[in-house]
């Protein structure tokens, strides 16, 4: 009787050990792949739905804006400087419109207007679907607002108001933090 029971117990122990080790391996894989990072859904002007996690492996600047916001237009010019400086392997910019009353066509008209004035806003633009709003609320509902995510999607930095790229004008009264300094810090 004892001889029959012992192998059964041994098999059960092996099975339990295998299950537990499998769970541990799974957790490790999650953290390695960065799936614990932030994520949200947004819509491109052509109505394609995209997620933040599709940009893992890059520093991502989330720019929250609306077409009626004059400071947001100023921010676009500063973002253009950043976008033209860093490679696409290192940096991506997502300009997400957070006004629910604005349409994809409003975004396209906005981009077209800048193009007519010589600014090619050639990064990713979209409309908010969900979860970007939580960043907006954390940032006191002011726009433009910037969030910077690391290559694993973890949020590194938040800023409310215009964030200049590399130079402060003489009459600048805003916070003295430069976008270039932050990007260089996080890329390196």
């Amino acid at each position: 009787m004892k001889k029959k029971i012992l192998p059964i117990i041994l098999i059960i122990v092996i099975i339990i050990t295998g299950i537990l080790s499998g769970c541990t391996t799974t957790n490790q894989n999650n953290s390695t792949n960065g799936t614990n990072g932030e994520n949200f859904l947004f819509e491109l002007p052509d109505s394609t739905e995209v997620e933040l996690k599709e940009y893992r492996g890059k520093i991502v600047i989330l720019d929250m804006w609306a077409t009626w916001c004059s400071p947001c237009q100023y921010q676009m010019i500063e973002l253009k400087k950043a976008y033209d400086t860093y490679s696409r392997e290192d940096l991506e910019i997502l300009s997400i419109n957070v006004d629910p009353d604005e349409t994809n066509q409003d975004i396209l008209n906005f981009i077209e207007l800048f193009s007519e004035h010589g600014y090619n806003l050639n990064w990713i633009f979209g409309n908010e679907i969900d979860d970007t709003a939580k960043y907006k609320k954390e940032l006191n509902s002011g726009i433009p607002s910037i969030c910077i995510f690391d290559r694993d999607g973890e949020i590194l930095y938040k800023h409310v108001g215009v964030m200049l790229y590399d130079t402060f004008p003489d009459n600048w009264t805003g916070e003295k933090v430069l976008l270039k300094e932050k990007i260089d810090e996080y890329i390196n």
Partner: protein, 169 residues
Amino acid sequence: MKSLIKKNRIFKQILITFLLIGFFIPMIAVSAAPTVDINPTKPKPEQSITITVVVTDETTDAVHFLIQECEGTSLCHQQQNITLNKENNQAYSGSFTLEYPKATYMQYTLNVHTTDGWTKYDENTKVDLDLSTSNENGDNNVEDSPGFEFIVIAFSIIFISLFMYKRKR
């Protein structure tokens, strides 16, 4: 001679007709768009404002006032949508208290609903806020009065001087 007088009269009539048409057409063209009145015209940050909109389209059944407060070139705050109340067939009004102490201007858009749907007017019209650092209610009057007092004093001096001069004579 008679024909000349007649031609002159006709010419005058034509001229008067064109002048009248030219005078009234702008009034008709302008009155199609609603008019917006904000009181005070240059509000201070965190001040209450009254918004009055006069519409000309009789099929208007809703008027919304979209307002954003912005802080210079730095940032703009969340857009607020104010539903105005119908006062009579043509006027809609409402009130709103500005929220942000650091705001330097506000901008608004008017949304009017008629049988043709929603139409936007005055999109992103900017209104600079009064950033002067005045004290409480009475002090504004104190700031204004010295000017009026000097005028009264000046006239008094002039009249008294004239009176005295005439008396001497």
